[in-house]
């Protein structure tokens, strides 16, 4: 069993290809077609392009904020290749590629970061929860959904995410503990991108790694090279099979690096070195996968052309988000309750009276 071979107590790490795209563990290489690999790489590239553009839209003052995903794409796209249509996704906020794979659109993501709740009303992704801001609170939701699935004897599973910093929150431990006791079909992934804003993992915990925390909850845990698409793909296959066949939850620590800033208002030069950043660039998940494809002779893409194509697509989505109907007063009130209480109606009316007064005044 893979969880035994890569025992997090011994700080083992699952890695299948190296930084140069060489296969280190042919025995573990997942069954996956060349086509799928190329498509995955393209999806990663799309996420990368969307990310870069999001940052630049924000710089142009056309979006309020954005938390870059750059460097973490292998995790998202590997999961996107394994997750099924009826599976649930309970995100934190740095899983854009996976959200897209589940049917969320960049338009929606832009809309959200542009300050409109409609951006969380994923039209084509009914089983994806909104981005979750209060760190850690999403994990119990995933466990509850897992309970519903188990209760109904369905065979869907839940993918859920948290950052390295998030593992310090009480909700992380409570949720994993419940998941263990209830044996629900939930695949937990910690995206260990080394930082919680400015705080490095070493300030976050003294445990030898984050996967090892699974022991506290009696569930399998494994540390994986999160920049290795194949390692992530393999572990998502194994973990989802585990969960789907009633064997309960799994905790994956995906080792990666947040190449960008925490959000567009953060300045990483204040807390980390150029050398550190450069070292991590060598294991850039896109680069590694591209090198792998080149070695295998399955890389026939024109990256620049693809980039241009993706840019256009992303731009279109962004314009769609910008051109959404203006936020109406009703939108403030309409979704508070399934049926609006009288008092909220009255508050709205009073506000409309004020607006009328204001209109007359000018």
């Amino acid at each position: 069993m893979i969880f035994e071979e890569f025992n997090p107590s011994e700080d083992k790490i699952l890695r299948i290809i190296d930084n140069d795209g060489r296969v280190l563990r042919p025995d573990l290489f997942p069954e996956i077609s060349g086509d799928t690999i190329v498509k995955a790489w393209k999806a990663m590239l799309f996420e990368r392009v969307a990310d870069e553009m999001a940052v630049s839209f924000q710089r142009q003052g056309r979006m309020f904020t954005y938390p870059p995903n750059k460097g973490q794409e292998a995790i998202h796209i590997a999961a996107g290749n394994v997750i099924r249509e009826n599976d649930w996704l309970v995100p934190a906020f740095r899983e854009v590629g996976l959200m897209l794979a589940k049917g969320v659109t960049m338009k929606e993501i832009f809309l959200y970061y542009n300050g409109n709740e409609q951006g969380s009303n994923f039209k084509n992704a009914p089983r994806v929860l909104p981005i979750n801001v209060p760190i850690g609170t999403q994990l119990p939701h995933a466990v509850g959904i897992g309970y519903s699935i188990k209760y109904r004897k369905e065979n869907d599973i839940v993918f859920t995410y948290i950052g390295d910093g998030g593992t310090s929150e009480g909700d992380f431990s409570e949720a994993l503990n419940f998941a263990g006791v209830w044996q629900v079909p939930v695949v937990f992934t910690i995206q260990n991108n080394q930082y919680a804003i400015s705080v490095p993992v070493s300030t976050q915990t003294k445990s030898i790694n984050l996967a090892v925390k699974s022991i506290a909850f009696g569930i399998p845990g494994i540390k994986v090279d999160g920049n290795d698409f194949f390692a992530m793909y393999l572990i998502y296959q194994k973990a989802s099979e585990h969960a789907r066949t009633g064997k309960g939850p799994v905790l994956i620590e995906a080792l990666t690096y947040r190449c960008g800033a925490h959000t567009t208002s953060d300045d990483p030069t204040r807390y980390r070195t150029k050398e550190e950043e450069a070292a991590w660039e060598l294991s850039d998940p896109l680069l590694r996968l591209k090198k792998f494809m080149e070695r295998k002779g399955i890389y026939r893409e024109n990256e620049e052309k693809l980039r241009e194509q993706y840019k256009k697509e992303v731009e279109k989505q962004f314009l769609d988000a910008e051109n959404v109907a203006p936020y109406a007063l009703e939108d403030v009130f309409n979704y508070m309750y399934v049926e609006m209480p009288d008092d909220l109606k009255k508050q709205k009316e009073e506000y409309q009276q004020f607006l009328a007064w204001k209109g007359n005044r000018k």
């Binding site: 709740e117 009303n121 309409n334």
Partner: protein, 325 residues
């Protein structure tokens, strides 16, 4: 009809909803095998199985947080916090997610979830077992907050709460869990959330209360009657959305308001009721509205509780002052 305590009436409501709706699940600390520390869920695990009525690990945030997940994926969780003082570990889940998931997702997800807990003083309990946190939960937009004052109301309101597609905080006045017995219909019935109940009509002073304080008010009314003061007694039943209409109508008649509640008085439901009185019936007010409420202190342990708890005499004292103003 059957004579029931509030504990029995709540149990009965859960029983009816568990029987009728397979989506209803009930869980929390000690609610399964022993049926809760107050035996509110007694017998339900036996009847409906461990998958529908069960003990959870000891972690309120996860109890509520998993409820959010269940609710948005189609179940109707009814979770118990063992005491009001232990609802606070779940506060973040309640304010950040329970109350917001519907709005956050623009109506895509509903949270038909009930968080129920015993609350209030008067049972000589240790710390954290005697509090009245209704103001905290009522201030959170997106929640409904319901407090019954009788077995009958508890049953009818809880059935409404479980059937509500919005999340409901259901606060049970533990002091009268078993102290009041009443004929309650055995079949299914419901009492609407958001409507107050005029328990007694009167012309001189409006008394607004809820939960265990209703009984104390009724005792005070006996004294008031002797003193020739006609009291209109309103049981709020729901703290949010609060029934302003009933309050307004009453104040237009009496012009005088006394609010009775166990909680600390400042920044409380009492404050809100006075604000409502001003906004809805300012020109009718003939005396300053009064709050007969707890001090702005921590509720004392049992030996000191007598000072903090609201007695019929104290209510009457304030009613009289208000009537004679």
């Amino acid at each position: 009809m059957s004579v029931m305590t509030m504990v029995q009436a709540i149990n009965n409501a859960l029983d009816i909803k568990l029987a009728e709706d397979n989506d209803v699940v009930v869980y929390g600390e000690d609610v399964g095998v022993v049926g809760g520390v107050f035996r509110v869920t007694e017998g339900l695990q036996k009847k409906y199985g461990v998958e529908r009525v069960f003990d959870s690990p000891l972690a309120e945030s996860a109890i509520v947080g998993t409820g959010v997940g269940m609710a948005l994926s189609g179940l109707r969780p009814v979770v118990e916090m063992q005491f009001e003082g232990f609802s606070y570990p779940a506060f973040n889940q309640i304010i950040s997610n329970v109350s917001r998931m519907h709005n956050r997702s623009r109506g895509r997800f509903r949270i038909p979830m009930v968080i129920r807990f015993p609350y209030g003083g008067g049972i000589n309990a240790i710390e954290h077992h005697s509090e009245s946190p209704e103001a905290l939960y009522s201030h959170i937009p997106g929640l409904k907050v319901v407090v019954p004052s009788t077995p009958h109301d508890a049953k009818g309101l809880l059935i409404s709460a479980i059937e509500s597609d919005d999340p409901v905080i259901f606060m049970e006045p533990k002091r009268i869990y078993r102290a009041i017995k009443q004929e309650v219909a055995t079949g299914k019935f419901s009492i609407p959330i958001g409507k107050a109940n005029v328990l007694a009509e009167g012309t001189d002073v409006t008394v607004v209360a809820f939960g265990a304080m209703i009984r104390e008010c009724q005792r005070a009314m006996v004294m008031a009657k002797e003193a020739g003061i006609s009291v209109e007694l309103i049981d709020l039943r729901t703290i949010y959305p609060i029934d302003k209409e009933t309050i307004r109508n009453s104040l237009q008649k009496t012009g005088r308001l006394v609010v009775v509640a166990e909680a600390q008085r400042s920044f409380s439901v009492g404050s809100e009721l006075i604000a409502i009185a001003n906004e809805e019936a300012f020109l009718y007010l003939e005396a300053p509205p009064r709050r007969v409420m707890g001090f702005d202190t921590i509720i004392p342990l049992a030996q000191g509780e007598k000072y903090f708890m609201i007695t019929p005499e104290r209510i009457f004292y304030e009613i009289e002052k208000t009537a004679r103003f």
